[in-house]
């Protein structure tokens, strides 16, 4: 409450640098469903924070994440992303607001018939449109280099020229993460980014994310069913349960058993 009152009196520019995402009164019900997925969800994520979202299957985590960028249209509530109200935007304004926001989805969402390198290059489409970012063959030399570097960071440089429908699930997920790195976003939404990765790779990716948070000041909002990841790689943990945001605590004050109890 206190911090909310403070932020209201602060000038806009300061607000923009301190809160990366501010969600208030968010509600969503899918057409044809009797119950809402969630309602009256309020939270703020500060710039440079890493926040984990937990909850049982079907609790609405993916839906909440998508609503934050209006990939799914929420029924009510306001979203302030990077100091700009997202709720009132449409068309090209909305697109512009999304430029600095990266997404890693639960399903990797790569274009199956294109190569890994081309898919990574597509991260650039957030900032520049046109043929030079359509296919790796058309790309600028520096962009190709950067795309290879992103692939390398997720350990996938050796599949650069492989078609994405020939990658394993985990490899594809890592390429999708490389695409998000290519975009170089200010804020990254990641929906179970490590779900299809083996334990070691999962830890590696979370380490990579957390170093981006520390070094580049990335803001991270990730969903995980991996309680250790939520505990070790976040500053704060949010929990969805019974159509409400029932948990919002600093990670230090939680432990494995206390979080496990949240699912019960």
């Amino acid at each position: 409450m206190n911090s909310c009152a403070e932020s209201l009196t602060m000038p806009r520019s300061v607000l923009a640098t301190t809160s990366q995402l501010k969600v208030s009164g968010l509600a969503k019900r899918f057409d044809g469903c009797s119950q809402s997925v969630f309602s009256d969800v309020n939270f703020t994520i500060s710039t440079g924070q890493s926040v984990a979202l937990i909850g049982a299957n079907g609790a609405g985590k993916s839906t909440l994440l998508r609503c934050c960028a209006r990939l799914i249209e929420p029924d009510a509530g306001s979203i302030i992303l990077d100091g700009e109200a997202l709720s009132s935007k449409s068309g090209s304004e909305l697109r512009k607001a999304r430029n600095r926001v990266g997404f890693v989805f639960q399903k990797h969402c790569l274009v199956p018939r294109l190569s890994a390198l081309t898919n990574v290059l597509h991260g650039n489409l957030a900032h520049r449109s046109g043929p030079r970012n359509w296919l790796q063959g058309f790309a600028r030399q520096e962009d190709r280099g950067r795309a290879m570097d992103c692939l390398n960071q997720v350990g996938m440089a050796h599949v650069a020229d492989k078609r994405c429908d020939q990658l394993s699930g985990g490899q594809a997920q890592r390429v999708a993460i490389a695409r998000a790195l290519m975009q170089d976003p200010k804020m990254l939404f990641a929906d179970e980014p490590t779900a299809s990765l083996d334990p070691q790779s999962g830890d590696d990716i979370m380490e990579l994310f957390s170093s981006l948070v520390k070094v580049r000041g990335l803001t991270l909002f990730f969903v995980s069913h991996h309680i250790e990841h939520a505990l070790n790689y976040s500053d704060r943990i949010l929990g969805l349960q019974e159509r409400q945001l029932l948990l919002d605590t600093p990670s230090q004050s939680e432990s494995l058993p206390s979080l496990r109890a949240f699912y019960a």
Partner: protein, 284 residues
């Protein structure tokens, strides 16, 4: 011990079943009385149609000697007009090729107006769909007659017919294959603010490409077959030669033409299956 264990398992199983019993889907849906009546009506209509279609064993038997005579006159095939015929078959193929290529080029933007996930507006979509289905439902011979009447006898009328035919066929299947593309990757790029044009080029076109290629090659095969007949109504190509030979009872010439047609169609089908396999394996 064992027996008791078995018993408890079964009763637990039963209790469980009664809980989920009303959620259990039925094995088969019973056909409704309405669908039974419709089936019966269809059978009656089929019987009536058989009589209207003039199915007649006696006519077939009486025709058999004629067929044998004509077939006999077809061998050996005549080679006296082989030169002009070869030329005509080449023109036939060229009409088909040019018509198909132009038709495909027009079909791509038209399909984008038609597909649910690319159309700028539902009204545009419905108009485009109606126009294309009109192109498709009017038979090609009717289009050919129309174009012969408006632009005159010859290959141009035939090419226009092929274009219309190709749009009617390709635009529809292009649109359908674009609608079937998994929306995930496109949504992923939308989530980072990529423009609609970028998303169409980068996600939709490559994902629908195998199906585009298949449809295009199939439509070329179809165009070759239909361009053979277009000459019968004066829209250019080998069909005119065939009509003349038949009218003059030169069945040996007709045989040459049929062989040429067979070779052309066969070659195009072979070619298209080779291309299909090549292109679909490519990396981008």
């Amino acid at each position: 011990m064992l027996e008791r264990g078995g018993e408890t398992v079964t009763s637990a199983h039963k209790a469980n079943l009664s809980v989920i019993g009303d959620q259990m889907p039925v094995r088969f849906e019973r056909p409704s009385w309405l669908s039974n009546i419709l089936c019966a009506l269809f059978l009656l209509f089929l019987l009536w149609s058989m009589s209207s279609a003039g199915l007649s064993l006696s006519d077939l038997l009486e025709g058999l000697p004629n067929m044998a005579t004509i077939a006999g006159e077809m061998v050996p095939p005549a080679t006296d007009r082989a030169g002009p015929m070869a030329n005509a078959i080449l023109v036939t193929f060229q009409m088909a090729l040019v018509g198909t290529v132009i038709g495909i080029l027009i079909s791509i933007p038209v399909a984008m107006l038609m597909a649910r996930n690319t159309s700028p507006h539902p009204i545009v979509r419905h108009v485009a769909r109606s126009v294309v289905s009109f192109f498709r439902t009017v038979p090609d011979l009717a289009w050919a007659l129309f174009f012969v009447a408006s632009v005159g006898l010859g290959a141009f009328a035939g090419t226009l017919t092929i274009i219309i035919d190709t749009i009617g066929f390709c635009a529809r299947f292009f649109a359908e294959s674009m609608e079937e593309v998994d929306p995930g990757p496109s949504e992923a790029l939308a989530s980072i603010g990529a423009s609609p044009i970028d998303r169409i080029v980068v996600v939709l076109l490559p994902s629908a490409m195998p199906s585009f290629i298949n449809t295009s090659l199939f439509s070329l095969e179809k165009a070759v077959r239909s361009s053979v007949v277009l000459g019968l109504v004066g829209a250019g190509g080998i069909g005119a030669e065939l009509a003349v030979s038949m009218e003059m009872f030169r069945y040996d010439q007709a045989a040459t033409i049929v062989i040429m047609i067979f070779v052309l169609v066969f070659a195009v089908e072979q070619f298209s299956s080779v291309i299909r396999n090549r292109l679909l394996r490519q990396n981008v």
